[in-house]
Symmetry: C2
């Protein structure tokens, strides 16, 4: 089956670009210096490819991702880089058969982890973005509290999420340095072997982190492509033209097939006008016919994948490429 024969809309991975992205990152951040984040891709088959390149530890954003990775046999060293106080989900992670470490940033999150079977934690530190993470000056006392609850404190975590998407590399370098100054201050007070940070935009900038939590690099999107990173588009949505006239065309790929939070997608060989629930309206550079397929590149990979049940693997980036596998998006959702 060719990409052009798939039912649409469907996510398609170009296996060559995907392998290039994984190999490029593995050369820059070998083994445990990369802890791939599965929140972007939500797919254990994809994670196995990262493990095959030597990255044995994974980062997750939800307990379901942790439990799903463990069920798929990826149990070596899993980090929930997020806070939860849900007793059932904490216990599910504690009992999933994997080595599980969770991020904590408050006495409440420490107590919830300790009270539900979790044994190892990282102190999550706010390094500049207004989201989770304790203040750097509070990290030492929180680590003491965790140790008093018999938790092993492996180190610190701090995500420079306000930096990873900045276009200008010099600005990324400057702001990463400032963010990691805060994380280093916290680490001095906390101790431990692990300093977990970073993402696709700072994987080669962040010098403090012992491990980088990048995920989007494997598939990329138009938002990250604006940066000077060496990764290629490996994810597209194949869509069918369902209407065409002299001015514009419409394909069956709308905002239920890709997320608009980072803006409109790109349609190859076309200018996008707008997306609605089920459709993208665009001006093609060359005339298209009803029934013809087009390729669409999402602006933000993470929430776009979360809308799909599966991704198809193809042996190239075109409509003529052969479909060689089907990967379930098996880590999406949160559990019932």
């Amino acid at each position: 089956m060719r990409v052009a024969d798939l039912p649409t809309p469907a996510l398609v991975i170009d296996s060559e670009a995907f392998a290039f992205n994984l190999d490029t990152m593995a050369a820059a951040r070998p083994g445990r210096t990369l802890r791939p984040h599965v929140k972007a891709t939500k797919c254990t088959a994809l994670a196995r490819e990262q493990a095959a390149r030597g990255h044995m530890g994974f980062t997750a954003a939800t307990p379901r991702e942790i439990v799903g990775l463990a069920a798929a046999g990826l149990r070596d060293d899993l980090l929930l880089a997020n806070q939860t106080v849900d007793p059932e989900r904490l216990r599910a992670m504690a009992e999933c058969g994997a080595r599980v470490t969770v991020a904590v940033d408050s006495p409440e999150t420490v107590d919830a982890a300790a009270g539900n079977g979790i044994r190892e934690v990282l102190i999550d530190v706010n390094v500049g973005m207004p989201r989770c993470g304790c203040a750097p000056e509070a990290a030492g006392a929180l680590a003491d509290h965790a140790r008093a609850r018999d938790l092993t404190v492996r180190g610190v975590m701090g995500y420079e999420g306000h930096v990873v998407g900045l276009d200008d590399r010099a600005e990324r370098v400057e702001k990463t340095t400032a963010a990691m100054f805060r994380l280093e201050e916290a680490h001095n007070a906390v101790g431990g072997d692990v300093i977990s940070a970073g993402g696709t935009g700072t994987y080669d900038i962040n010098e403090l982190a012992t491990e980088i939590q990048a995920g989007s690099y494997s598939l990329m999107d138009t938002a990250y492509a604006k940066l000077d990173v060496p990764f290629s588009y490996a994810l597209r949505v194949v869509a069918t033209v369902v209407h065409a006239n002299a001015k514009f065309a419409v394909a069956d790929c709308g905002l239920k097939a890709l997320s608009l939070d980072h803006g409109n997608p790109d349609v190859e060989n076309a200018a996008v006008w707008f997306c609605s629930d089920e459709h993208v309206t665009f001006a093609p550079r060359a005339a298209v016919r009803v029934g013809e397929r087009v390729l669409v590149v999402p602006a933000h990979v993470d929430p776009s994948i979360a809308l799909h049940e599966c991704m198809y693997l193809a042996d190239g980036p075109t409509l003529d490429a052969d479909v060689v596998d089907r990967w379930p998006v098996d880590l999406r959702g949160w559990g019932a």
Copy 2:
């Protein structure tokens, strides 16, 4: 179980507001003068409540929605208000046991329908929004082509999607009139009993339509609430506060739990700062603690529901309300 005891993030329907919305619409648009659109809600349990109010026909945006409605026993009169040329999906609809009508707007979509077992169509007419639909002056010839292919042409369809969201009622009235002038011109050339059009923003404005395709009215969102429609919020996301400090708090409800294409959600009793993949950062009006639940109202109901596996039904709009049922979002996705 109370709403505050649900695992988060979770969609929660306030059953009282939901019943009010359905009753209010059923009074204004009784029986077959409303053809509820399931694309917004993607839930056969919810559709059954609409059928119980006398609306026996449904509108759908995907073949999966049609086949799923039929499998749930809602087979009376189903309209695919969208174009498809997929032979397998057309055949699946033709063979699903329901009365199925599909929208067509080109010779290609007519031929695909006729060639794959579909027996009834509506001519979809562009009434002002650049999306699907033929030009009004082309509708008669297209109907002739459909009849030549042994299809029954039941009438016309035209969605004034460029009008339904306009805040100003006078402007909605004026532009609906203009749009329906185009649809009436097409109907004069096509014939048939059905003039299908409209949405939640024009259900009481559109005087031409024999049936209104409203869906969002049942649950509502902050975008439609800006209009002077009599429907109430009936859908919220319950989320857990996972971080709180003196300036802001963070809950576990981000852009994988609700769609941002119509802007940020509202957090009750708070000012929203921003959403990221898994989180909403907000300034609460009164202090919140880690572990506390908050209620979040999506800006756009359709793609938010499409991110969830289920919705919970509760007997009120608060965190203390009792959860009385769980409804699967069983019509999402597109099929494998």
